[in-house]
């Protein structure tokens, strides 16, 4: 009986669409509710995915494709609004328009400005990029939208796709599950929250100019990377986490003790929760595993680090362990006292908690989207995909990656002048006899 009640409550809380006299509007999902308060000129919360084609983008075709794509994703065609207690999404009359891909990626766009959607599509030469604010969705939602856009674009260019697979297209029914709040749907009452973490070490380097975000692109042949990971009974993500952790350990060693703001190297690894729970949601549904190491304990060889990361991930990358985060986050959102606090006060505390209980406990993050696939008719026209992490003023240098066909693409986004992390990371991968190609279009906007 109790289980039935909880299930009913979960379903009720998972609904994000509300229909009233003005039509449909949406509430924010549990991961998104903190985002509007913490997003600013530097901490834009915007991550980016791009595809590079084998020909210059045809403007007209892409604009038509975009207009059709957004029809399939009405829950993305929204603007952010303030309520008295919570933010909400108001359906927008604005039709997304292609923008020139100039300046720093993921910068210079405010979701608080009236008329602005929470994503934008930018093109330059052969490349089309979608930049999404995390308030709207996570990497899964963004890559789905990009795939829809590409299929529709190629259709405009005269390339029909017979079997579109999992790509969502206009005309297909829009399921309510696509915009459900899966955190609330799969919330478990009566389980404890995650354990507290010590203060993390942060890179000690001068910040770049306010609106500058340096992105370093690289690509790595997938097979040697997979081979190395298999030899060490680890996953590709675990090898990359180990390399990133080592880079930060070295940075920690170089930092004078008085200038270290913490001694815990905490690497956040986002986890797609869709693999644990059945949902079709294209809103946020990712949490994270935190891999921590205190460098004061001693020295680790790289192989030991890979093993350490592998073991931590094996324990932590488990539905029961990650469910504690849902219990804390969704449970907090359901608390009647929290709900009754006016938004202006919530915003203040969100900024405070994000800084003290969020970013100060994380050294860096690395997000691996996994393998991207496209229908074969258009796959041959796409040279590469790139995935750029959202800029962060606290964690400063972070990485995102994905694989496309037989290549692994990794991008570092940094808000600091120092390139020591990128340098150490790629040197380490190269030292494993895995070729690393730093792409020349490293951007500093």
């Amino acid at each position: 009986m109790k289980l039935k009640d909880v299930s009913f409550r979960n379903r009720k809380h998972a609904k994000t669409q509300v229909i009233d006299e003005t039509g449909a509007w949406y509430t924010l999902d549990n991961a998104a509710i903190i985002m509007p308060a913490i997003n600013n000129d530097v901490e834009t919360g915007i991550f980016r995915m791009s595809a590079t084609l084998d020909h210059p983008i045809r403007y007209d075709a892409m604009q038509k494709a975009l207009a059709k794509a957004i029809e399939r994703y009405p829950y993305y065609r929204v603007e952010l609004r303030r309520g008295f207690f919570w933010y909400y999404f108001e359906p927008s009359k604005t039709l997304p328009v292609l923008e020139a891909d100039e300046g720093s990626p993921s910068m210079g766009y405010s979701i608080h400005r009236r008329g602005n959607l929470l994503f934008r599509v930018r093109i330059k030469a052969h490349r089309v990029a979608v930049e999404f604010n995390h308030t709207l969705t996570d990497g899964t939602g963004a890559i789905n939208f990009l795939k829809t856009l590409l299929v529709l674009y190629f259709k405009e260019c005269g390339i029909e796709v017979q079997n579109t697979g999992d790509v969502l297209l206009p005309g297909q029914p829009i399921s309510e599950e696509e915009f459900e709040d899966a955190y609330h749907k799969h919330y478990k009452a009566d389980i404890p929250g995650p354990l507290p973490l010590p203060k993390a070490y942060h890179l000690n380097s001068k910040l770049l100019d306010k609106h500058t975000y340096r992105v370093t692109y690289a690509h790595i042949p997938l097979q040697p990377l997979l081979d190395y990971a298999r030899q060490h009974k680890a996953s590709v993500t675990e090898v990359l986490v180990a390399a990133l952790m080592e880079a930060y350990i070295e940075a920690w060693k170089r930092t004078p003790p008085k200038k270290r703001d913490g001694n815990n190297i905490a690497v956040e690894v986002p986890v797609n929760m869709r693999k644990f729970y059945p949902t079709k949601t294209l809103k946020n549904f990712s949490l994270y595993v935190m891999v921590c190491l205190d460098p004061r304990l001693g020295n680790w060889t790289f192989e030991e680090l890979v093993e350490y990361v592998h073991n931590v991930m094996r324990i932590e990358n488990d539905e029961r362990m990650i469910a504690r985060q849902i219990a804390r986050n969704a449970g907090g959102g359901r608390n009647i006292i929290v709900r009754l606090v006016p938004l202006i006060i919530k915003d203040f505390f969100a900024r405070l908690f994000f800084s003290t209980l969020g970013q100060s406990l994380i050294t860096t993050f690395i997000s691996n989207l996994g393998a991207v696939t496209l229908p074969e008719e258009i796959a041959k026209h796409v040279g590469r995909f790139d995935f750029i992490p959202a800029p962060s003023a606290d964690t400063k240098t972070n990485a995102s990656c994905l694989s496309w066909q037989d290549t692994f693409y990794i991008s570092f986004g940094s808000r600091v002048e120092s390139t020591e992390i990128e340098q150490h990371f790629f040197s380490r991968i190269a030292s494993l006899n895995i070729p690393v190609y730093i792409d020349l279009h490293t951007e500093v906007g």
Partner: protein
């Protein structure tokens, strides 16, 4: 097919790129933008400000000299002329601070309050032993200072200025009225029970709150359900 030289995208038959708005076939156009000079408001130059300051100062000096001479000619010394002289000094202070300190509203407000307090103190001294300045005028001036500070602070911090500023002004008036009545009660040694100022405040505060509400919350598509969803 036409490639934009700046963006590198195919813009079909268009003559101007819809992204960068530059002509397709003009490489020079992509390098040089002709921007029409915008007409902008020219702020007062220092020279102009000094000129205004000088005109005000000379005018007040002439008035001060006139009342002083008349007073001395009739009575043989300065007596009643002190009242208009202190008033003229106050007028000079109030009218010139914003001219010579154009971008420093906080400093202007502070100097004006000090000037007004000085004027009241001078009046108290002129009318006999100092009795009402410290117990009546000074608390009122502090109340005024707080009211002005509230409005200035709200104006400085507000990202969008409109009805919200009027709301803050109403709140400041309410605060000032309370300060006036409290000062009078203190001066007359009456029991501290606010009467008329509480009526003023209870009228102004709801209006101010309503203005804030309108300013920050109301838009065409807003419903109560959206505003107050929990």
């Amino acid at each position: 097919m036409a490639l934009c030289k700046t963006c590198g995208v195919d813009i079909g038959d268009a003559a101007i790129c819809p992204l960068c708005h530059k002509p397709v076939n003009s490489s020079e156009a992509s390098e040089h933008h002709e921007v029409e000079p915008k007409q902008k408001q020219v702020p007062l130059s220092n020279e102009r400000r000094l000129q205004i300051f000088e005109v005000i100062s000379v005018s007040i000096l002439i008035a001060a000299a006139a009342v002083s001479i008349v007073n001395v000619v009739i009575e043989g010394k300065l007596s009643w002329a002190w009242y208009p002289l202190f008033s003229l000094i106050l007028i000079w202070t109030l009218s010139t601070t914003s001219v010579i300190l154009p971008k420093k509203p906080w400093l202007v407000a502070l100097i004006d309050i000090i000037g007004l307090s000085g004027f009241l103190y001078a009046l108290d001294v002129l009318t006999g032993p100092v009795v009402w300045f410290f117990r009546l005028a000074l608390p009122m001036m502090i109340g005024l200072l707080v009211a002005i500070a509230v409005v200035l602070l709200a104006y400085t911090l507000a990202k969008r200025k409109g009805l919200n500023i009027i709301g803050w002004i109403l709140l400041a008036i309410a605060e000032f009225c309370i300060a006036i009545e409290a000062s009078i009660l203190m001066y007359t040694n009456s029991p501290f029970k606010l009467f008329w100022s509480s009526i003023v405040a209870s009228s102004l505060i709801p209006v101010a709150l309503f203005l804030f509400y309108i300013h920050y919350r109301i838009a065409k598509s807003v419903t109560l359900r959206k505003l107050f969803h929990l």
